[in-house]
């Protein structure tokens, strides 16, 4: 450390101070929010029947843990997200590859993909329930509809944007289309694919919750829906808070995964 110049030390100090400020205010915001919410409820300024309170959310959570239903609902939701994430990823990579291999097909399907991607899939909810049935399959199907098209489009666009000179190089060795795909298109698009998966996982969560709100007997979406039907706001807000924590954790994991993959490759 002694080898660093005074200026460098100052710079390091400044970086550290900024980090402390950021962390401090992050916590301050959540503390003010929670304390304010709790006090407003304690002082009867807000009606806990409508807006609940942190202590009620905590006691509801403890109650849900005690009767074992919390982890059951979380498990169901995560299971549905996991299944639809895997299927959507598989479909996305597969269809994008086929479209890349057959440019004419891609041109033919282009307007349909655009329509299907921009259509608000929740509008299909009632149809899905009628066709697939009021079961977990409906939820997974809904989640797939929401995530699959955007995955296909993102990965396919990544494939198209591959540096043309890489392809020319392989063509100068008289490579087959499959070789070009295997040696250039796929490996040069790892980052694109990881990014698509990042979007995919949050899309899947949205889809699953939407599906659970429409039709389900368990899962966090069900918990929220059930809470609103019996007018138990504590339950609704507890569901939302847990959902927020889970989606943050999921994002965190994918983000770490991305860093891990990036490190491995350089």
């Amino acid at each position: 450390m002694s080898t660093y110049s005074l200026e460098h030390k100052k710079y390091i100090k400044k970086l550290r101070r900024e980090k402390i400020i950021v962390t401090f205010f992050r916590f301050l915001i959540i503390v003010i929010f929670l304390v304010g919410w709790e006090l407003l409820a304690q002082w009867k300024i807000t009606n806990t029947f409508l807006s609940s309170s942190p202590s009620r959310v905590i006691s509801t959570t403890i109650g849900l843990i005690r009767d074992g239903s919390l982890f059951h609902h979380i498990g169901i939701t995560l299971y549905e997200v996991g299944i639809s994430f895997m299927i959507a990823t598989l479909i996305g990579i597969l269809v994008a590859s086929i479209l890349w291999r057959m440019p004419i097909l891609a041109r033919i399907l282009d307007p349909y993909l655009t329509i299907l991607n921009s259509l608000p899939k929740v509008a299909l909810g009632p149809l899905i329930i009628i066709w697939v049935g009021a079961s977990m399959n409906s939820i997974i199907f809904m989640s797939l509809l929401i995530s699959a098209f955007i995955t296909i489009i993102n990965i396919y666009n990544g494939f198209l944007a591959t540096d043309q000179s890489y392809i020319t190089l392989l063509r100068s060795f008289h490579a087959t289309k499959w070789q070009i795909f295997k040696k250039v298109i796929f490996p040069s698009n790892y980052t694109t694919i990881i990014n698509a998966l990042k979007i995919n996982i949050s899309m899947n969560l949205i889809g699953v919750i939407m599906g659970e709100l429409l039709v389900s007997k368990s899962g966090l979406g069900y918990l929220i829906m059930y809470g609103s039907q019996v007018f138990n706001i504590d339950l609704v807000i507890t569901g939302v808070v847990i959902l927020g924590i889970i989606s943050y954790l999921m994002y965190f994991i994918v983000d770490k995964l991305e860093v891990f993959v990036a490190n491995k490759r350089s």
Partner: protein, 249 residues
Amino acid sequence: MKNKLLHIKNLSKTYHSKKTEVEAIKDINLDIYDKEFISIVGPSGCGKSTILSILSGLEEKSNGTFSFQKDVTIGYMLQNDSLFFWRNILDNCLIGLEVTGQLTEESKAYVISLLKTYGLGDFMEQYPSSLSGGMRQRVALIRTLALKPDILLLDEPMSALDYQSRLAISDDIYNIIKKEGKTAIMVTHDIAEAISMSDRIVVLSKRPSVVKKIYDIHLTNKSTPIHNRKCKEFSEYYDKIWRDLDVHL
């Protein structure tokens, strides 16, 4: 009698787009002999690179013929190095062998020996991003040499580099090609580079490009490209070719 490796006759190429068709090259006639270094110069956009693309099989010709002597193989070196960022230097050099199904312990050993001979032995495990532009270009040349081609097609191989690296790497590339006993056809827009490296220079006209002139380059005390620039005939050739190119801005 010199050994003729390639015979090009009346080679023509027309490009089609929705609205127009453009005649890029027209009736190109050229013979290439063993161990020759030939440069093709011409005004920008004249279709110089088209000739190489056709010879390497990347593009179809429209008319004419070209024939290689039996068993003559070609290697194509592109304008930019196109090194794969996800492969290390050695694996980058092996890509051609992989694709053509010629990757064996023996061919791999040959590539490693090339890398070692040309000062890249310590970088085999590294990734392209950690190499300088000149070194990357040398890697690209070794990637091409890995397939043991008889004729090298060089498409403005130095154009992406800064001037000083260009001078240095043109010496490098020249020496490697001579040492490995290869024949080379290089496309360039740099007249000085062409004179300093070539045995013959083909000057093309504006589109549709025809062969305007072919110069045999005779330099007193000819050695490496950088030194060749000091030869007394250098500026004469430069003036003549400059006038041939007929540049108007």
